[in-house]
Symmetry: C2
Subunit: 385 residues, 2 copies
């Protein structure tokens, strides 16, 4: 495969966009990416989305969105792996361009979750888990993560407040991101006193849903080298790995083997290791997922993820800054769009365009998007070329 | 991209599989394909599915199915473009292998539609159309096709009975396919007297839904040349094109421009034309779609699709045999699986393994899978190598 670069990015603020349809959100992110890339057409469109069929009564988003943005006729499709759908769009665009099939592709993640009742949205989210072995018992998605977190606390001796730094860091960083759903800092007291959702996960351990869309335009690297006015961002590593969809069926429910596998493969492709990562856009859907992801990607020993937070290593000036634009916790988690928000934010950091959220000297970024409670994990390594 | 071949195929009969879960159907097709290919592992899995989220309360099929069949860990994802989802799985597997990303990939189409009420299933099908401009009015999918058929009859002067040959041919061919949902022939009288569904579409113009799964294993062509005991089937052409999702918004609602575009590109890649096609697995979801697809692919002049049926050209001994294993009309239309059934059936024909349905001397096959009422069309040309 030939080398591939990200030429343009676009996003809409994560919010409750009651006045806009799903296709309009996707369109806004795409138009912004086209403007940023200074192009007006691409040859293929990949849409990351999980729930439009259930919540918007609309499947077939590839044709819908490509027509809406003026690309009628091009190849287009939806790709889905629950909450990992977004990064799959980038992955698919990368393979389409890298293979030589097309010379430009657009990846967009989009989700509209706030027009339906909480019951409907919660039910739709639960379809990411095993319907036969998990959903059938009525367990929600946060409930599943609560089981994992409780076991993790028991096994490794962590207290609930040890997870506070994940949430505090995400909210502190969200303040600097105009596209974040929550742009207000929280204190440790706010974290401790937050209402319980599914013990031990309280409101400050859980990312908020939202409506959103984020997009990136992918082109061959050699096409833009020496041409683009903007710093070039290369996709240096890309990998997808899976695990059992049902938590009880994993070899170790406290280890994200798909995260480890996909990160390791992405590192290999990019020829880097955890020490060289300057920015890590992490899938902190729940604070326990942040801890497990840090461990799987080689930043902490098994069972020691929370230590990184407690020792100040995850903040912007720390050893491995995570959730630098707010993460899922503060930027928000519009499910099928999340993976693309992570990519767009990593590009902002690598270009030096992250504003007040800028991590000094960021040259290598890792993004990791997790589907379900760890069953599909997509890791990308982006570098400033 | 390197050249790619189909090494193994598998399918389950299209039926009301109330006793089997979706993952079991997919698994049966996959195990059959693995056995046929004489391999026990692949490196990536692409699942074509449209409605599992809505009807089975299950998204995230990539991880679910790959784990079920013993491939835990591999790259896996769902691809979707409504009724065109199946062929997108083959397309994605082709690109993954063709690009050099992996050396083997499995494409499976699966759908389970008969465990839910007709109202639920009909609503889920309607999400293939534009929710904002079509679904909002309460129009069903058959209703949309009825509007197209009525206009076509008006514009080109066809009577309803002129479409009878499509249905009669499909049912006659389904008799010879043990996996077909309907294995009984119909007469012209049965066609004429069938109950009206949405005027002018009667029950014999409309394909039946069903539960089903079909799979194919894709590998580099040079890997199997000289090795495989079975005749080798090459994917000589593959293309996806889109159109407006809403019928009223098309330049010409009686012309499938996406079908024309994708077929033309597939012909170009394979360096063949309509005259060289021996078998055409057509997307006869409704008889009007068979007519329009024949025209768009260059087998009939605009508005003259029904003539091919009336002149006996579409039967197994005709100029362009279509729906040779029963088509959507008699084999059945388990939506997200349909595109893969078409591919599997074309491979059976090219290998000379189609039994009583065998088309003598079949060397070049065209499969065309249509999403929605023509908004996403995937064309593949398969050849006996």
């Amino acid at each position: 495969m030939r080398e591939v670069a990200i030429l343009g990015i676009g996003q809409v603020p994560v919010a409750e966009h009651w006045e806009k349809r799903l296709v309009e959100l996707a369109g806004e992110a795409i138009f912004a990416a086209l403007k940023d890339a200074e192009v007006n057409k691409v040859e293929a469109l990949f849409v990351g989305n999980m729930m439009a069929g259930q919540l918007d009564k609309q499947t077939h988003l590839g044709a819908l969105i490509s027509d809406w943005v003026g690309f009628r006729g091009i190849e287009a499709m939806t790709v889905e792996a629950a909450c990992g759908s977004g990064a799959l769009a980038l992955r698919s665009a990368l393979v389409a361009v890298g293979s030589g099939l097309v010379s430009s592709a657009l990846a967009v993640g989009v989700e509209k979750m706030t027009d339906t009742s909480p019951r409907e949205t919660t039910s739709a989210l639960a379809t990411a888990a095993s319907a036969d072995w998990e959903g059938v018992h009525g367990i929600t998605f946060v409930g599943l993560n609560a089981l994992i977190m409780r076991r993790y606390m028991h096994e490794y001796g962590w207290k609930h407040e040890d997870f506070a730094p994940f949430s505090i860091n995400a909210h502190a960083n969200g303040v600097n991101n105009p596209n974040a759903r929550f742009q207000s800092p929280i204190t440790e007291e706010v974290y401790r006193k937050a209402v319980m959702v599914a013990d031990p996960i309280n409101l400050m351990d859980a990312s908020p849903i939202g409506d959103g869309a984020a997009a990136a335009i992918v082109v061959p690297l050699d096409l833009v080298q020496g041409m683009s006015q903007k710093p070039i961002v290369k996709i240096a590593g890309s990998a997808v790995a899976t695990d059992s969809i049902a938590v009880h069926d994993r070899h170790d429910p406290l280890w994200l083997s798909a995260a480890e596998k996909s990160a390791r493969e992405a590192y290999r492709q990019a020829d880097v290791g955890p020490d060289e990562i300057d920015v890590f856009e992490i899938h902190d859907a729940f604070s326990i997922m942040a801890a497990l992801s840090l461990e799987a990607c080689g930043f902490a020993e098994r069972g020691q993820g929370p230590r990184l937070g407690l020792e100040g290593e995850i903040i912007p000036t720390g050893r491995i800054p995570i959730a630098t634009m707010g993460g899922l916790k503060a930027r928000g988690h519009p499910v099928g769009a999340t993976g693309m928000y992570q990519v767009v934010e990593a590009v902002q950091q690598l270009r030096g365009e992250a504003g007040k959220a800028q991590i000094d000297g960021a040259e290598v970024a890792l993004t990791q998007n997790i589907g379900g409670s760890g069953a599909t994990v997509i890791s990308h390594i982006l570098t400033a070329d």
